[in-house]
């Protein structure tokens, strides 16, 4: 294959098809299908307990799917000849033994996949751990542990990176560093798949979004489309006769809610229509502000929908089981 081809190939693609994982009667991942492509940062977004970590373990072959399949570069992970050279992963900061030094941890991993030892020094340098390389892992802070996990992920110079909540425990400087690193890795044509439960983090890093809730796919779209489609316009309106205004608006089919800043938050008619309506009925308007909901709000609404579904499920015969799941 010619290396100059800019087209995404199957090489670095992660493909999940109808991926399902049940633990007993708890469904952690529910018929999830998606494709993660090279050359961009794909954010894997969902509230805690949505099934992100389970999906990542399924990709890495650590857990076996109940049904469905997932491949990396067209192959199940277990069939990759030298996995660390194809896929770098960070599952949790606790992937190293407390009694072992960072250097030995990485040296062992390098040996397992026949990666030259000099790569260990390179990734230690890249992650800023050179000075603490000889120190035992138990003395590492959460942030240092996270850096070591990233160093291990980069060890095999892989085409695909799968990182579960990589900014966890990092300070502001560390978060900025990792953001830059992810973007530069994607710019090199690699596949970068990272999970987070924080929309604000994704907004700054990801080009593409896969959103899940309760193990199900909620959205698979570019960040821009996600914002445009989901970020609904609304209008903030204040009037000295708020109840009368609300009555009029609701008669027109608008969704009227009390805004946290005072006044009404109106979904439906735009600012002009609201202004005209008020004038037609001789109502005074003190403020009329068009606004867009932030991505954080959109995401919260999306994940609340799946949370609501959860609450409904409590009415069903599966109620006891589904409420038990939430604690896991």
């Amino acid at each position: 294959m010619s290396g100059a081809s800019p087209l995404p190939t199957v090489e670095g693609m992660i493909e999940a098809r109808e991926l399902t994982k049940r633990y007993g009667d708890r469904t952690a991942v529910d018929q999830l299908s998606f494709t993660v492509r090279p050359g961009r940062v794909t954010g894997f977004l969902g509230p805690n307990g949505a099934g992100k970590s389970t999906t990542m373990r399924l990709i890495l072959g650590l857990d076996a799917p109940t049904s469905g399949s997932v491949t990396v570069g067209g192959k199940p992970y277990a069939e990759l000849p030298a996995p660390l050279r194809a896929v770098g992963s960070l599952l949790d900061a606790k992937g190293a033994h407390g009694g072992r030094s960072a250097y030995r941890h990485l040296a062992g991993l390098a040996a397992s996949n026949r990666i030259p030892r000099r790569r260990v020094d390179e990734v230690l340098d890249l992650t800023g751990l050179t000075e603490v390389a000889g120190r035992r892992f138990s003395g590492f802070s959460l942030g240092m542990g996270q850096r070591l996990g990233i160093a291990a992920a980069l060890l095999g110079d892989p085409e695909v990176l799968i990182l579960d909540e990589p900014v966890n425990g990092l300070d502001t400087e560390g978060i900025r560093w990792i953001r830059g690193l992810m973007k530069s890795l994607a710019a090199q044509g690699r596949t970068v798949f990272l999970s987070s439960h924080l929309m604000s983090e994704m907004e700054l890093t990801a080009d593409h979004l896969i959103v899940i809730g309760r193990g199900r796919l909620l959205a698979d779209t570019t960040m821009r489309d996600f914002i445009e489609t989901n970020s609904r316009a609304h209008t903030l309106v204040r009037s000295p006769e708020p109840e009368k205004l609300r009555g009029l608006l609701e008669a027109k089919g608008a969704d009227v809610r009390l805004d946290a800043r005072g006044g009404w938050r109106v979904d439906g008619p735009d600012a002009a229509a609201i202004g005209d309506l008020a004038r037609d009925h001789g109502l005074a308007i003190h403020e009329l502000t068009p606004a867009h909901s932030s991505l954080e709000e959109v995401y919260t609404a999306l994940s609340q929908d799946s949370a609501e579904y959860r609450t409904h499920a409590v009415q069903s015969p599966h109620a006891v089981r589904s409420s038990r799941k939430e604690k896991v």
Partner: protein, 257 residues
Amino acid sequence: MAPTTLTTARAGFPGALAHEWIKFNSVRSTVWTTLATAVVPVLGAVFVAATESLQPDDTVLGGSLTASVPAQMLAAVVGALLITGEYGSGTVRTTFAANPRRATVLAAKATLIAALMYVLALVSCTLAYLIGGAMLDDGRYAQGEPLPALFGIAASFAVAGLLGLAVGTLVRHSAGAVTTVIGVLLLPSLLGPLFGDAQRWIAGVSPTSALEKLIQTSDATAETVGSLGPWPSLLLVTGYTAALLLLATGALRGRDV
């Protein structure tokens, strides 16, 4: 990245073995327990010879290697820790992400523990025998036959390590696995007398009794550990250890980590 390195490099058995070796020698607890396994028989020989705490009918070999029985338990503990340590620290996921062929990883661990224990026990037990022989009065005790027994003794340490590894793989928790493995080695001879005539069947099949027969101690009588010879006993222990390892491999492959 050069595609050639991708296709030629393989996370196979040699890589897994190198990985296991680095993991093994970079954690103090396993290293110290292993060293203790090697040191205990020698210290035991010095103690027994200095205090002359042998039975009159004992052999120099048997007396000198008295402490090889607890040392064999340590070998089994190291075998168990080799895998339970991974579950305890969470490195098991890192390990299987680096090499998803779990049977290969377990085979590497098995090779490491068996080779290590065989070599260490051979050196340590030979040394213990020589020290005991040098310290004890000539002719007062029967010498015993050190060869080829010492090779069997070393093998019994390797098998104990493998038994520990199999139990550790099945149990996954350090405390549970260590308790189980010590129980397996200790209880048959401890509880054997409660079973009357059946004692030789219960105590006789344990790894400990195979070792006792090999070191030709006077404790290893036909009444207590059965009339099965030392080598067939070793073979029996090796046999059920292999079966348990197969079971552990199956469990490891079928389980989520």
